[in-house]
């Protein structure tokens, strides 16, 4: 019996070694959920976005390190007619993964499919500038011109999301121009991407990229399990690691823990300012007071939040654009300073008074409100508890309520039955035009008071005007000036009280080379075609 067990253990070890040897040049990491689609035009979830990034070929790519635009399938491009038209000159001699040649009609076909209302592509929303049809016309065999009915701000950057499809290939969207192609899909388990044999890019020495043979994406929701598997060497990368898990990894294997500095993700709280919400009128009056909001902001010790909740892997947040967004961040702004006496002075201006440790408003109501956040998110729960103690110093009683996510969404976006909310925001795109649905007073994601028929405050009207102005201009300097002003207003009025900007934390196997983690998505594998393993480094050289 004992011998049989020994033999079994030996055999399973042998099989494991063989499998590992076979997958020697294979990158493995996890995606959080099942991809909803392999069709790049229909992508609207993170997992599908990962596959689009790894397999899709685009005309222009935003270099995640420099944040500048780089030519990919387009050799050059030119924006004309005040942002209504863009003309690309395409590379020649490029083949799709199935050997079909790439030409201008593929770009025209992709744009036509993308903008087709029947397809309902989420990527197309950014290109919809006005009523009218988007026209793509070929300029010779390797030139294409795309005309839009109205100007689009930052038009060329939007092509980073457009993976070109083949108009001729029988394999349809499975014929790709990116470094990898989908080779195997086991629902609920994993997706295997094999190297695209026709990928056009070569390194400085003329060697065809990518260096890796394959990428295996494992579907795994549990982050603890993901980290355990990483520590066992079964995974090579973890993107966007939670600060608590990162700290654990940094203790156990410091060389694998990589902090790329401030990310594009921030945590913020806001007050419900919806006039029809079912909360008492005197509370609505508090929440609509700029001095009240600023007092709350100044009473929160952001440094403590960064140090204790994020173990130092976060920085006090300034506003809607974090410093990681180099071009659009308003350098003049600094986080609201922690100033308890300043906060009390602001409250006095609004006739609040502190009486036996309790803050009372001008009508004698004691200041008490609830802060909702999603249950199960330890960082947010800790932040809320710390804010609770901070506000106690100025006599405010804060009730922290954790709700399951659907209940929370119901309250903040449908029945508006809440007082304050603490949640996070991810800026997926660098360009402020992608935030139109947050800043316009008529927008549904204008969280503190959404779907306004007309701006209810003068400062919201001013933000509306500035956002429209930046969106209708193609002059980057003018757009920057407008959006700087938006950031300034948001800083002054504090409709969102920005708390912390999280750092971009990643786990990277020491076996993996050429990895440069950055704050932008996809943080660790943005240069996937150049990633390789230490044992294969010499061969690649």
């Amino acid at each position: 019996m004992k011998r049989s067990i020994q033999l079994l253990v030996f055999c399973s070890g042998l099989v494991g070694s063989i499998l590992l040897a076979q997958s020697g040049n294979e990158l493995r990491f996890c995606i959080r959920s099942e991809p909803k689609t392999f069709n790049p035009v229909l992508v609207d979830d993170e997992s599908s976005e990962t596959i689009r990034y790894l397999t899709g070929g685009v005309l222009i790519r935003v270099n995640r390190l420099t944040q500048e635009l780089e030519s990919e399938l387009a050799l050059s491009w030119k924006v004309a007619d005040g942002g209504r038209k863009i003309t690309f000159k395409l590379r020649e001699g490029i083949l799709f993964s199935d050997g079909t040649p790439f030409a201008a009609d593929d770009v025209a076909y992709t744009m036509q499919l993308l903008m087709d209302p029947k397809v309902n592509s989420p990527t197309a929303d950014s290109f919809r500038s006005g009523s009218g049809v988007v026209k793509a016309s070929m300029v010779g065999t390797h030139g294409v011109s795309i005309a839009f009915p109205a100007p689009i701000a930052g038009l060329e950057r939007l092509f980073d999301q457009v993976a070109i499809l083949s108009s001729r290939s029988p394999r349809k969207e499975m014929a790709v121009l990116g470094p990898f192609m989908v080779s195997e899909y086991k629902p609920g388990s994993q997706i295997l991407l094999q190297r695209n044999p026709h990928y056009w890019k070569r390194d400085e020495k003329g060697k065809r990229l990518p260096y890796l043979d394959s990428v295996r994406l494992e579907i795994q929701q549990n982050r603890e399990t993901e980290l355990l598997r990483f520590e066992r060497g079964q995974l090579h990368l973890i993107n966007n690691l939670d600060a608590i898990l990162f700290d654990r990894l940094a203790t156990e294997s410091p060389s694998a823990a990589r902090d790329a500095g401030p990310s594009l993700e921030s945590e913020q709280m806001w007050f419900n300012q919806v006039s029809s919400s079912p909360i008492p009128d005197y509370k609505k009056a508090w929440f609509r007071s700029m001095n009240f909001r600023r007092a709350i902001s100044e009473a929160v010790n952001r440094e403590d939040l960064c140090r204790m909740v994020y173990m130092g892997h976060a920085t006090p947040a300034v506003g809607p654009i974090p410093p990681a967004n180099r071009f659009w961040f308003n350098q003049v702004l600094k986080p609201h300073s922690y100033d308890v006496s300043g906060a009390l002075r602001r409250l006095e201006k609004e006739e609040f008074r502190l009486q036996q440790g309790t803050l009372l408003d001008r009508e004698g109501h004691s200041v008490e409100f609830s802060l909702i956040t999603n249950s199960g998110n330890k960082s947010r729960e800790r932040m809320a508890t710390m804010v609770q103690q901070d506000l106690k110093q100025i006599g405010i009683r804060l009730n922290v309520v954790t709700l399951d996510f659907p209940s929370l969404i119901e309250r903040i976006s449908r029945n508006f039955n809440y007082e304050a909310c603490l949640l996070g925001l991810v800026n997926a795109d660098l360009d402020p035009s992608s935030q139109m649905n947050v800043w316009l007073s008529s927008a549904s994601n204008h969280q503190w008071n959404p779907n306004q028929k007309a701006p209810e405050t003068t400062w919201e009207a001013e933000i509306d005007r500035l956002m429209q102005a930046q969106a209708s201009s193609v002059d980057p300097r003018k757009r920057k000036a407008c959006f700087d002003k938006v950031q300034q207003i948001v800083w002054e009025e504090a409709p969102f009280i920005y708390l912390v900007t999280k750092n971009s934390l990643a786990a990277i196997s020491p076996q993996l080379k050429n990895v440069t983690p950055v704050p932008l998505r996809p943080q660790t594998y943005w240069n996937v075609e150049r990633l390789c393993f230490v044992e294969n480094l010499a061969a690649n050289r």
Binding site: N301, D304, S375, Y418
Partner: protein, 268 residues
């Protein structure tokens, strides 16, 4: 066995006493954040160290024990009362009332408890103090937890219904209501008592489960449930074994309850 029961009683008494005297015994207020000393190891100032927000763990354990040990029996009492009324009357009266009570009991037993609690919790008003939230949580547990006990009580009442002394009372012209209160209920006391003692640890664990999901007692009030959440970080537990204190206490209290219960059953 008797020695074990005495020890269990002693342990429970000690824990109850310490939690009741938390205001005197605890070295610090349970919500005070010593932000300069987060995750501190045990010391004279902080006997069980501090949590990630710099709060004294020992004080939180004492106050948390008070919450769990006072409110779990209250919830158990509520659910036992529910079981006595529904199960007892169903077993004694029988007929359509029994059928209705059995259907209701089965319905309650088949409900997905956790989701129901999540839903009810989400529907409650937001602006309630932590103390009110803890009372609400345990009341919900009590109101929803009567069903399994009701089955046992019904079976007990049914057997009593056909007992000689009940038949004699009926033959003597006693009213049904009087028989129920004078003959049936007093004789159901051992069953109800057993159900009460079974429910206490069950409710403590139920609150701990809700706490692990972040839906139990609201911050900053401690309970065993939210104290146990620290154990989710297994590497921290490995290097800071004192984090296991709430788990040990929970296991000790639940075990003591079980020992006392088994003693009571054997006595009966």
């Amino acid at each position: 066995m008797k020695v074990l029961r005495i020890i269990s009683l002693g342990v429970l008494g000690l824990v109850f006493l310490a939690s009741l005297l938390a205001d005197v015994v605890a070295p610090a207020p349970y919500s005070k954040q010593y932000r300069e000393a987060p995750n501190a190891p045990p010391s004279r100032q902080f006997p069980l160290g501090t949590d990630e927000l710099g709060r004294d763990r020992f004080s939180r354990l004492l106050y948390g024990s008070r919450v769990s040990l006072l409110l779990a029996p209250a919830a158990a009492l509520l659910s036992t009362l529910g079981a006595a009324v529904i199960g007892g009357t169903a077993g004694y009266w029988g007929k359509w009332w029994e059928r209705m009570a059995v259907t209701l009991t089965d319905l309650f037993l088949s409900l997905p408890w956790l989701f129901l609690l999540l839903t009810v919790r989400a529907l409650l008003p937001l602006n309630v103090s932590p103390l009110a939230s803890v009372v609400v949580t345990f009341s919900l547990l009590g109101l929803l937890g009567w069903a399994s006990s009701a089955r046992v009580v019904r079976a007990g009442a049914r057997s009593l219904r056909s007992s000689d002394f009940v038949l004699q009372a009926r033959a003597g012209g006693c009213l049904k209501r009087r028989i129920f209160f004078v003959q049936i209920l007093p004789n159901l006391k051992p069953v109800l008592s057993a159900q009460f003692w079974i429910s206490v640890p069950a409710f403590i664990l139920a609150e701990a489960n809700l706490g692990l999901l972040g839906l139990g007692v609201a911050e900053p009030l401690p309970s065993w449930g939210n104290l146990l959440r620290e154990l989710e970080n297994y590497s921290a537990v490995r290097s800071n074994p004192w984090l296991l204190a709430p788990l040990f206490l929970l296991v000790a209290v639940v075990s003591c309850f079980q020992i006392l219960l088994s003693g009571e059953e054997s006595f009966q």
